[in-house]
Symmetry: C2
Subunit: 225 residues, 2 copies
DNA sequence: AACAATATATGATATTTGTCATGTTTTAAC
DNA sequence: GTTAAAACATGACAAATATCATATATTGTT
């Protein structure tokens, strides 16, 4: 089994604040799991009892609303931690996590990491900083949801995906989301998302090939009214 | 000047995790300020360089969106802390804070509290827990914004105000918000908020007297489709 | 008390977004 | 490769919400 102390992914999240001894202890009790595209890592309401460290792949965090639609709240990437909020709040998961492509995920049980969180102030401050960042992002999303049009929100989502995950060799966005996923990020009907993507295509701001999307005019997307 | 060690408000926020010595030190450097209804405590983009502790009163946290409208993200009450997120993230304020009634607010400068945050693990864990709670609330608001109607959101806002701030002697909500404030919480046009309040009145779910609002049928409000 | 400023109320209308229906394309399974 | 299922696309229409106009009520100020 691979070791946390040597895992490069750790550099990108709060685990970097742990000492070598702490890492070795955690490495000894962690489990690693591969998750196929579409599979559930955990579900809303579930007692996750630990923290996930994303070694590879991308997943979505979403919540089922009363009307039966999933709302995607955040995309989580290779290097990110998952489940800290529930751990700290000592609650069951508020959101579900579903893989968007094939993933490799490590799981660190609660009892192993909770001590570090309460006693290693460098580590807990790092977790605190990450959570502060998440909170800012969520607050900004609230403002966007409330004040921007579906078209603007969809354009911003495309830009977000471009900025965070980049393009593949042929210039298409490297993360492939279904139209339904885009709708569930933006908070609109799937048909509306499809319609607006068609519109953006007609306007020359993007082009598509199957599910793949290419950004043709970033400035144009940024300036949608 | 009154002393933090003796301040009852402290019991309601993370400052309760500080030792008597730390509190005395902080008490010595804090400043207290009264803020009149409508006055600004700090503005988005401002460098606040410290934390506010709300001794009395209520304020709104809001952000100006591109279309010129304020979006209210959170109501903050007596006992709450303000500015922790910016402090932890070492950033300027992401939101503006404006008093909704007359307030008394203490200010603790950054350099005094930052040490405690990094070294008193009980304190920083308490701040972390509060932030985890805020993050959960914000994520839930995103879902509501995206998936619920304006009428549902407005009804939920009324219920929220009722649950958190209660009624006055005559049964009216104890916190008085303008119709514009309600619109800015819900993320809609002021006219729409007014219209829906009129509708709720006709349906017998609430009654009003000037700016005052009385909840007549809580269950009814909860079950709006 | 009179006045101006601000907030509330409501109608008419335009715009945005959602829903339902239906057809086409792509993907996955055998 | 064929076929069934899922995803994508688009039209027609309905519903929700925003905008503009205007009237009334409330509040604070002199």
């Amino acid at each position: 089994m691979s070791k946390c102390e040597q895992c490069i992914v750790r550099q990108f999240n709060s685990l970097k604040a742990l000492s070598k001894e702490e890492l070795i202890r955690i490495s000894g009790c962690k489990t690693t799991r591969t998750v196929k595209k579409g599979e559930i890592i955990f579900e809303e309401g579930e007692n996750i009892n630990g923290v996930f460290c994303i070694k590879d792949g991308i997943c979505k965090l979403s919540k089922l609303s009363a009307n039966g639609k999933d709302q995607i709240v955040k995309l989580v990437v290779k290097g990110d931690l998952l489940g800290q909020r529930s751990l700290v709040g000592e609650e069951s998961a508020n959101l579900s996590a579903v893989a968007l492509n094939d993933m490799e995920v490590c799981f660190i049980p609660k009892h192993e990491i909770m001590n570090d969180l309460q006693q290693n102030s460098k580590f807990s401050f790092d977790v605190l900083q990450q959570m502060a960042k998440d909170l800012k992002e969520s607050d900004d999303i609230i403002v966007n949801m409330a004040q921007k049009s579906v078209k603007q929100r969809l354009a911003e989502t495309l830009i977000y995906v471009y900025n965070h995950f980049g393009n593949n060799d042929e210039g298409f966005l490297d993360v492939i989301l279904s139209r339904e996923d885009y709708a569930n990020i933006v908070g609109t009907a799937t048909e509306s998302a499809i319609r607006i993507l068609s519109q953006l295509k007609k306007e020359g701001l993007i082009s598509t090939s199957g599910k793949q999307i290419k950004i043709e005019d970033l400035k144009g997307l940024e300036h949608i009214e």
